[in-house]
Amino acid sequence: MTTKTIKHPLSAWHFLEVLLFIGPAAMFLIVFWILPILGSLGVSFTDWDFMSDGFQITGIQNYRSLLRDKNFLSAMEHTLLFACYTVLPGCGIGLILAVLVHAAGRHTPYAACLLAPWITPTVAVSIVWIWIFEPDRGLANGLLQWLGLRGLPWLQSSSTALAAVSIVTVWKNLGYVMLLFLGPLSQIPKEYYEAAALDGAGVLQRFRKITLPLLAPSTCFVGLIMTVESLRAYDQIQILTQGGPAGSTRTLLYLYYQLGFEQFRMGQAAAAVVILTIIGLFLAWVQNRVKGVFYEI
């Protein structure tokens, strides 16, 4: 094989060409993605603590102690709850908004307007939300009191903090989810609706009988994308609650950050992020399967 490559100058040139095109990105991918991912997997089997030079290979000890750790189990629970709190309302409202924006015309300013929270830095808007959620002087409780309701402690109580962080997250993602639905929505042929309207179907009936079934695959898809997105939430948690109060907003990713970059327990942190990765890959696999079920036949 190699002799052949050397014999034909064209072949050698082709090899060089491929290298020229693939090389730069491949180098970055290997150095900053592939090797580090394998590295994390490796570290997760050690007791490395960052400070000392040496480490010992401890096998699956990190995973075992994580699974027995109260903090880890509650972080798993919060991750699941956070996913439910953000994905379900986000997709529901996002779908309705997409239908409305589609009806109003895709190039009306609404789409860009709704995307503003997604475009702006999470840190900046989270700071505004801290101020809105302020129990005594904030806008949120001001509005509740104006409506004759009692104010809530929002970020300051472990019973409401995760919901408050979820509200910020839904608000931030809504425009994005809406756009993810808008694409497939504009691919539904207009004739379907016209025919249904001629048969006397009302707006709601058309939504239920045409839009919903035809968007079922996209809904599944968007739901999975947003679930993966919820696993990656960090910025708003770091600014709004730092995982508190009493660990009530500590998700798996935030636990990873605290283990690794606050407590320098690198082995355990790596094990946590490996578990996070496995969940992410599993969701991606499901996503692929769903796509196959809906589109292949």
Binding site: V43, L115, P121, L253, G260
Partner: protein
């Protein structure tokens, strides 16, 4: 027909109100940023008696915020350039060049895309520290040198091109590089604009990774800088009007970008995933 017209009007009224509600946190930020120290703490006052434009003046002249803005702008532009070059070459290679292991390579990239970025942080941190790149712009830029998302976006655009145009050029003896710059790139301009905007915004806003590898205010991007301004600039919660003005200064460039090039971003997201 008439009921349709009323329905459309109602639709616009509803979407208008909803958009304002969604924009409420931004409006509240701008309103609060124009208040005095006392007004901002008084929940009964919705609007400032006299807009305190001085808050903005002191943020722009007497705070580290403009420096953070400059850092974010510089790093984001550098990262966008690097990502554009790497992703373009890679996407072209994987779409149009024939070589062994091509599908294999594509699968690896696909799996990489599914892995949360956080999984790379500990080893990447070690790597940057080994090469003395912690707390440097070089470290920030190089560690973001490739965008897997960009590779997918461009590859997708490339596969939609009619093969005839490229084949004709190849027949005329044009090299791959000429085909790329004279045919492929001009024909996929929308994908390039979308990618450039999203990559720029993503880097400008990025927080977790930059805050792990940089420490000094001289290298902080806006997100990390704003957080520092919130927690260090006076005790927690005292200077809310100034904090809001700082937030506004950081947010306004992006809102302008959205107002000017919004449809590139919205179309890119809406049509990219379907």
């Amino acid at each position: 027909m008439k009921s349709d017209l009323i329905r459309i009007r109602l639709l616009h009224v509803f979407l208008g109100i909803f958009s304002v509600l969604m924009a409420l946190p931004f409006l509240w930020m701008f309103v609060s940023s124009l208040k005095t120290k006392e007004e901002v703490l008084d929940p009964s006052r919705l609007l400032p008696a006299q807009p305190q434009w001085g808050n903005y003046l002191s943020i722009l002249t007497d705070s580290p915020i403009p420096g953070y803005l400059g850092n974010s702008l510089f790093v984001a532009l550098a990262v966008v350039c690097l990502q554009l070059i790497c992703s373009t070459l890679f996407a072209y290679g994987i779409t149009f060049l024939k070589f062994r292991g091509r599908t294999w390579l594509y699968r690896i990239v696909l799996v990489t895309y599914m892995v949360p970025t956080a999984a790379t942080y500990i080893p990447c941190y070690m790597l940057l520290s080994r090469f003395h790149l912690l707390d440097t712009f070089q470290g920030l830029i190089l560690s973001n040198g490739v965008s897997v998302f960009g590779i997918f976006l461009l590859r997708h655009a490339f596969t939609q091109l009619p093969p005839d145009a490229m084949e004709a050029a190849r027949m005329d003896g044009a090299g791959h590089f000429t085909v790329l710059t004279h045919i492929v790139m001009p024909m996929t301009r929308p994908a390039y604009i979308t990618f450039t905007l999203l990559a720029f915004i993503g880097t400008y806003n990025s927080y977790m990774w930059p805050s792990l590898i940089t420490d000094s205010p001289q290298r902080s991007l806006v997100s990390q800088g704003l957080r520092r301004f919130l927690f260090e600039g006076g005790a927690y919660g005292t200077q809310w009007a100034l904090v809001m003005a700082a937030g506004a200064v950081v947010v306004i460039p992006l809102l302008l970008l959205l107002a000017l090039g919004g449809h590139w971003i919205t179309d890119g997201i809406a049509d990219g995933h379907s």
